[in-house]
Symmetry: C2
């Protein structure tokens, strides 16, 4: 295990009707003039936005609104939000929505107290300070509600890039599993896939002696395997939604990723698909992830045997470890298909002819220097090979 620091000071209010605590929480964490940030009409139609406003009203907290966040959130709206904050002395950002809304809110929070272009934070600069952020989560997926991370797509070049830093950890997050019950099955499955991806990216490590984090990741993966199909079958299964919601936060607050190298190649390879085709992030990951695993398998075969055996209950063939490892990846891919996720380029409308440009962008775009991936260092040719495996 490597040295590390860990600091996750987000307050979580979890459970039924917890969104009614929003006003008190904003007050507790010092907000007096709030920008409520959200996406499309669903939070309006469901009455959630009204409940949030009522909770703020009860605490006599003033607010402005900025809706319109789209999946794979864009830089344009971020600039708009930053201007609103600067012009109106906003001192707290409240995100009401899923990972896209939260990530957009984080970008606004960072940019609102920064003199330069907020995009600097998405090309390597760490976010040490930002306006305080609170979230009301409506999709269990991104883990952004408890993480110091944000991903934004820059419309100038369509680069989808990530930022990180302690300034981006929400002060509080409201997690009411009921709010996720109206999600369509496809979005639920994409969220499940994203959560599993956050675990897999951490599992793919070159650090030895990481039993504690291995075991936590395995336990969380098993939770997803067990609970995921329940919400696909019955979207109103509160208890399964609740288990997934807490697993989604734990998967990405990094308590199971400390002290170990991580991979994130699948995310980088997927981000090009999202940027190019506006495909749902989780769906893109479902296509990419199993192929990245197959491509990297012989880098550390025993890690994949361990994954196959401990997580997917594959019986070990001691005379053929490679087959054992592959059976684990097969099981993962079958699981993803079983909850309705795509597994090929064709299913997400991705095209073979775009592969060279996407591989180049993944490895060289937006100040990158030729390779991606912390587990296996992948160059442009590797990424081309992986995309081709997805056809």
């Amino acid at each position: 295990m490597e040295n590390f620091s860990f600091y996750a000071p987000t307050y979580f209010a979890f459970g039924k009707e917890s969104e009614n605590e929003v006003g008190k929480l904003v007050k507790r964490f010092g907000g007096t003039k709030v920008l409520i940030h959200y996406g499309g009409g669903s939070v309006v139609r469901s009455g959630l936005l009204d409940r949030v406003k009522k909770s703020l009203d009860e605490q006599e907290i003033s607010y402005m609104e900025l809706g319109g966040v789209k999946p794979n959130p864009r830089s344009g709206l971020v600039y708009e939000g930053i201007d609103i904050c600067k012009d109106n002395a906003i001192d707290f950002i409240l995100a009401v929505g899923g990972g896209s809304v939260i990530d957009s809110a984080k970008a606004i929070a960072a940019g609102a107290i920064y003199d330069g272009d907020f995009w600097d934070y998405y090309t390597g600069k760490r976010v040490n300070q930002a306006l305080p952020i609170g979230t009301v989560l409506t999709i269990a997926a991104a883990g952004s509600e408890g993480s110091p991370d944000s991903v934004i797509t820059n419309e100038d070049g369509m680069y989808k890039r990530g930022s990180s830093g302690e300034g981006l950890r929400p002060k509080f997050s409201v997690l009411n599993p009921e709010l996720t019950q109206t999600l369509p099955a496809y979005q639920s499955a994409a969220g499940i896939t994203d959560i599993m991806a956050h675990l897999m990216e951490r599992y793919m490590t070159n650090t030895t002696d990481v039993e504690v984090t291995d075991r936590m990741i395995e336990g969380l993966l098993k939770t997803m395997i067990h609970e995921g199909p329940k919400v696909i079958e019955n979207p109103n299964n509160y208890q399964a939604r609740a288990n997934i919601m807490w697993a989604g936060m734990m998967a990405h607050n990094n308590s199971c990723g400390v002290g170990r190298s991580q991979d994130w190649a699948s995310h980088d390879i997927e981000h090009e698909l999202s940027a190019t085709y506006d495909v749902t992030h989780g769906a893109g990951l479902a296509v990419v992830m199993p192929q990245v695993m197959r491509y990297n398998m012989n880098h550390d075969l025993m890690r994949f045997v361990q994954l196959a055996h401990r997580v997917w209950n594959v019986e070990i063939d001691f005379t053929d470890l490679e087959t054992t490892a592959n059976k684990g990846i097969d099981a993962f891919q079958q699981y993803l298909a079983s909850i309705g996720m795509p597994t090929t380029f064709a299913q997400i409308g991705a095209k073979e002819e775009d592969i060279p440009a996407m591989a180049h962008s993944a490895c060289y775009g937006n100040k990158r220097t030729g390779t991606i991936g912390g587990f296996v260092s992948l160059n442009e040719e590797d990424v081309i090979n992986i995309y081709k495996m997805c056809l």
Copy 2:
């Protein structure tokens, strides 16, 4: 899963030489006049105390010292510490030691800004405010480095009782596994047992649909099973110490205990042993815990079958689930014996004739009202029966 709130804003500096960051961390969290609290001579002899002081000196932070904390920390020293804080305008408590030192520091921190008797906090009053606390951990065991809990023995009546509240969460904790390498095997084993007990007390729940926390607990228990024997065999195994140290924090910061009822009967039953015979907490737990499990087994047989199968790899006998469950408890008890822990009253010098008084104290002492345990409600007669099973 039940509704819950979760807030664990402790900064962790983990790894080799991390104690050298103490000065900067005290400064970061606002300390200007520190009380360094510690136990016996080992932190002096090892040079740790000097390194801590040097780190404070480098930041020009002034400090006073109060040593002398004993295992099963006593109220007398707490009163002494409170007086020092009040008389000298101490604004930060730095605990250098194991759980006993940290718990004593927490009691001082709470009492230092309270007009009444600090013991009020150990008879039901929650600690919402206290002086800020930092810790430099030297034993992986109590989990107090990341928890809002403290346990103190009141010398007036020898009641060993717990307190809790957000005011008791350390602002930071320094976790350097090297510092635990000098621990004698018996103390290491007692720490391992305490960590497993924190997990088992949470596993014993009456809340249904808690897959995510079940799986996290199981993963952490498996970590302890895997790593524990390594440090008994070789105390200098840094990596095993590191895995245990993070598992010990995760076992008790409650991220794996949220949204579910918990038990804590074994702790309450053990505390009488510690109070009566000054036995090491973990050793007392090793004696008590398997018997509490046997006594409670038929309250929810399938929970014990799940534990046996998932954690102890017991093959399920579908025609005899009781035997399956018992094999899991047997495996736990054998594991504890294998790392050198006692399993009977005789081995810890406990006496049959003291059973009635201990059972009475556990159920009625210090304002208790007749029963203990959140999994099965145990009365005085039940506790007598359990103590007798330990003979």
